[in-house]
């Protein structure tokens, strides 16, 4: 009897201890995230950098074509020079979507620094001369629109030691909009995001 009671008590204690260790999962309110900042880059940083870049581009008039039509933009190389594994599309996609919705720019997916983003534009052209396809519906030669602008950039990370227990991490989002015809930079922007925290926090 004594053994049974102690076993039961032990089991209950273990269950309580284990349940105390479980943390509940919550959804982030993306419109108003009041969560603590992290030393690495999170979605809020990409949103801030993209928002600032788009505002600067639209305010500068660099993406306003004199005849009112839209510029064709190609995405060039975006270098990740940080210690973190970053898919640079986290930044560029936000900028692309916003620029497209501005009605000022349309992005080509047929040309980019890393080859065509959507290979289908070329693959569909291989259907020429195929008897299986109505040739009237196959893309004609000379229909693709060449880009006029190119967006390139770099994300840089710089770690600075504040004191024995604190560090400062600086992130630089640098972007350049180049006129492909002349090779001149129509617009350039830089957003700096700084974080200061414990040395024990890892920024990668």
């Amino acid at each position: 009897m004594k053994l049974k009671v102690s076993t039961l008590f032990g089991t209950l204690a273990a269950i309580f201890a284990l349940s105390g260790c479980t943390s509940t999962t919550t959804n982030i309110n993306m419109q108003d995230d009041r969560g603590a900042a992290v030393m690495g880059l999170d979605y809020r940083d990409f949103q801030n950098a993209a928002s600032e870049a788009v505002q600067s581009m639209l305010m500068s008039g660099a993406v306003s074509k004199p005849d009112g039509s839209r510029y064709v933009l190609a995405i060039s190389r975006i270098i990740n020079d940080t210690q973190q594994h970053i898919d640079t599309d986290q930044l560029i996609k936000k900028i692309r979507v916003e620029l497209l919705q501005s009605g000022k720019v349309v992005v080509t997916t047929a040309v980019s620094a890393n080859g065509a983003e959507d290979a289908m534009s070329y693959q569909a052209r291989e259907l020429r001369d195929s008897d299986e396809f109505n040739q009237g519906t196959v893309a004609k030669k000379g229909q693709m629109i060449a880009p006029e602008l190119s967006l390139s950039g770099k994300i840089i990370q710089r770690n600075v030691r504040v004191n024995s227990s604190k560090q400062q991490v600086e992130y630089y989002f640098q972007l350049t909009l180049t006129d492909i015809n002349t090779g001149l930079a129509f617009w350039e922007g830089e957003t700096v995001i700084g974080k200061r925290g414990s040395n024990r926090s890892v920024a990668w």
Binding site: A50, V54, Q55, L58, M59, S64, E98, S102
Partner: protein
């Protein structure tokens, strides 16, 4: 003696009127934290359409308190029908305002459909 009373009465009246001076209110500006509306004076809210056909807005405010303040603002863009336009720039943005200082916040509309805007303020969380 009568003169002294008159001067005193005028001074009191002036102080009273100064206290009751109406503050500029713009229907496009709102304060989520009511106390903040006493700290920030709305000086001017202006807008223009730039060469690219996009609407630009500028808010000019004044921190009437004797201490620096961290605030947050959010600008929502509306089309002609009053519908909100979805954009990544409509987000709470932290902003530092110096004590007893004027400050300006400006933004450009996300596209040509943007014809009106609303500015919201709150204390920084």
């Amino acid at each position: 003696m009568k003169n002294t009373y008159s001067i005193f009465a005028i001074a009191v009246a002036l102080l009273f009127l100064a206290g009751c001076a109406t503050r500029y209110i713009d229907p496009r500006v709102s304060f989520i934290d009511q106390n903040l509306s006493h700290d920030i004076d709305v000086i001017q809210v202006s807008s223009r359409v730039n060469q690219g056909g996009l609407m630009e807005m500028q808010f000019t405010g004044f921190n009437n308190k004797s201490f620096d303040k961290n605030i947050e603002y959010r600008i929502e863009w509306l089309d002609q029908s009053g519908f909100a336009i979805k954009t990544i720039t409509t987000k709470w943005t932290r902003y530092f305002v110096n004590k007893k200082s004027e400050f300006r916040i400006s933004q450009v509309g996300p596209n040509k459909k943007a014809s009106d805007f609303r500015v919201q303020f709150r204390y920084a969380r």
